[in-house]
């Protein structure tokens, strides 16, 4: 089976690196980008099964990024990440087609569980 391909979009380098480390250990191929535009470019040029998307990005609103992703590549599953400790915004994201959400901070196990769940969807 082809390994799952994941893209992380977060403007925090530490989070990108941590997610890459943890998900690579699970056998997934992982890329990361630190802005909405860079992320969208990567998505248009490559095929990702799952996108881990922070809702607060320096250049774009995370929700807008997600809408574009769903429009261009409807099969891509998007997992939103939020630092606002609120499920309201995550619920809004789910309405626009997000597969799941992660509320920062989260553990490695939480990350893996959410990714595995999204993969099966």
């Amino acid at each position: 089976m082809k390994p799952l391909s994941i893209l992380v979009i977060d403007d925090e380098a530490v989070i990108c690196r941590a997610c890459k480390l943890i998900l690579a250990e699970q056998g997934f191929t992982v890329d990361s980008h630190m802005s909405g535009i860079a992320g969208l470019n990567a998505i248009s040029q490559n095929r990702y099964d799952i996108v881990l998307l922070d809702l607060k990005l320096p250049d774009m609103d995370g929700l807008d990024v997600m809408k574009l992703v769903k429009k261009e590549k409807p099969d891509t599953r998007v997992i939103v990440m939020t630092g606002y400790s609120t499920i309201a915004i995550a619920v809004a994201a789910m309405k626009f087609g997000a597969a799941d959400y992660l509320s920062k901070p989260f553990t490695d196990d939480e990350l893996i569980t959410v990714v595995e769940k999204a993969r099966k969807k």
Partner: protein, 420 residues
């Protein structure tokens, strides 16, 4: 006998002027202090006295405190306020001027030596009374003894009565103003807190995410059961604790509109109690239910009200320590269009100083408290257009009373953030 050189007519003219000045001050002056100052100077002038001292009853400490003075030496004034016992006169003196001629032997004169040294030979105590309440007292000091006609004393009393009314009115006004200022400051504090909270949450949750991801990942790679693993587990636990604190702060700051549906408060009470059953059992705390058997449904956000009750019950559990009693009481008041629920404990109680602050965010007496439990509860009840009140007696116990309306009105936001 009248003051030297003044005809009776001139004298009454003087009294009339004082009277008029004081009445005018009702309309022009807005501060109690101005009225009081005028009263002492005018009464000193008109009676050709040495000076006057005005004391007002302070309800907070039940003492008569000097609030205005004129014509007296520092040495005499430094003697300070006088307690209630010394000043409360017999009932018939409430509307009578008391004349003290023998200052050495009058029980009402606390410092005869100082008074004598100041050259004072006679005193008049004019009560400031409203109906049967003594709100203050003007003591007028004279350098020589003389007689006062009934008309003169009557005049003094009339002026005093008017003064008492003004003082009461202005004081009331000032108290209200204080109350509003306090409320306004509080609201301001809350809304800026709300704005800050959302910012803090995002800024802190990001670095916490880095810490939690690496520590949880590393904890699986180090020898299990060793010091490294233990240390990493602590980092994981403490990071998650930070998350909970921020969550609490956001819950408090956010305008979380209650999702109301008709619910029975008794059912919510039972649910909250079942969650805390173990906690109570372990501490041998007795729970007494006094729930209204015919409780009627009220529009409540069950989750939010449950959160409030859990908060209050946990506080009660902490207050009673081991083997205390916590009583939960519910009542319906269709006549007042509300229901009430009370959480009463027989625990340690809350200090007078602390009770004013307990609903303020970040105020806590617990070593590990975030100071958000009661602040969040307060916000929730306000958003339900309800009321939450606390009464407490240190050493005896505490009672929280919540009133919730039977009809849902337009939501009022306890905090004005609008963030998320």
């Amino acid at each position: 006998m009248m003051a030297v050189g003044l005809s009776p007519a001139a004298k009454y003219e003087g009294y009339f002027q004082v009277f008029r000045d004081i009445i005018r001050s009702i309309h022009s002056s807005t501060s109690v202090q101005e009225v009081l100052e005028m009263m002492v100077t005018k009464s000193t002038d008109v009676l050709n006295a040495r000076g006057a001292l005005l004391r007002i009853h302070n309800k907070k400490n039940n003492k008569f405190e000097v609030r205005a003075a004129c014509g007296l030496g520092e040495r005499y004034l430094a003697k300070g306020s006088v307690t209630t016992e010394k000043l409360i006169p017999e009932p018939d003196y409430l509307h009578k001027v008391l004349i003290i001629t023998d200052i050495w032997n009058a029980p009402r004169v606390e410092y005869p030596q100082q008074a004598w040294d100041e050259g004072i030979r006679m005193m008049l105590d004019v009560p400031l009374a409203i109906e049967d309440r003594l709100i203050g007292l003007i003591r007028i000091y004279l350098e020589e003894q003389r007689e006062f006609s009934d008309d003169e004393l009557d005049f003094l009393l009339t002026v005093a009565e008017q003064c008492a009314c003004i003082i009461e009115r202005v004081q009331l006004h000032e108290n209200q103003q204080d109350h509003f200022t306090h409320l306004a400051t509080r609201m301001d504090k809350m809304s800026s807190l709300g704005r800050m909270a959302a910012g803090i949450a995002h800024e802190i949750n990001n670095p916490l995410a880095g810490i939690l991801l690496y520590s949880s990942n590393m904890s699986k790679k180090v020898p299990q059961g060793g010091q490294l693993e233990e240390g990493l587990q602590i980092i994981i636990k403490e990071t998650q604790r930070c998350k909970t604190i921020i969550q609490g702060l956001l819950d408090f700051a956010r305008d979380k509109e209650p999702q109301r549906a008709p619910a029975n408060i008794n059912a919510i009470v039972e649910k909250a109690l079942s969650i805390l059953e173990n906690e109570f059992h372990l501490r041998h705390i007795r729970v007494e239910r006094q729930l209204d058997k015919d409780m009627i449904p009220a529009p409540l956000d069950e989750n939010q009200i449950e959160q409030v009750l859990i908060n209050l019950l946990l506080n009660a559990a902490l207050a009673v320590g081991d083997r205390g009693t916590v009583t939960v009481r519910s009542r319906k008041h269709p006549d007042r269009n509300n229901i009430s629920v009370e959480v009463v404990d027989n625990g340690c109680g809350i200090d007078k100083d602390n009770i004013k602050k307990i609903f303020e965010p970040f105020f806590s007496t617990k070593t590990n408290g975030t100071g958000l439990g009661l602040a969040v509860s307060y916000g929730i009840i306000k958003n339900h257009q309800g009321k939450i009140r606390v009464t407490s007696a240190p050493g005896k116990g505490t009672r929280f009373l919540i009133e919730l309306p039977l009809k849902a009105g337009k939501p009022i936001h306890a905090t004005g953030t609008g963030c998320l």
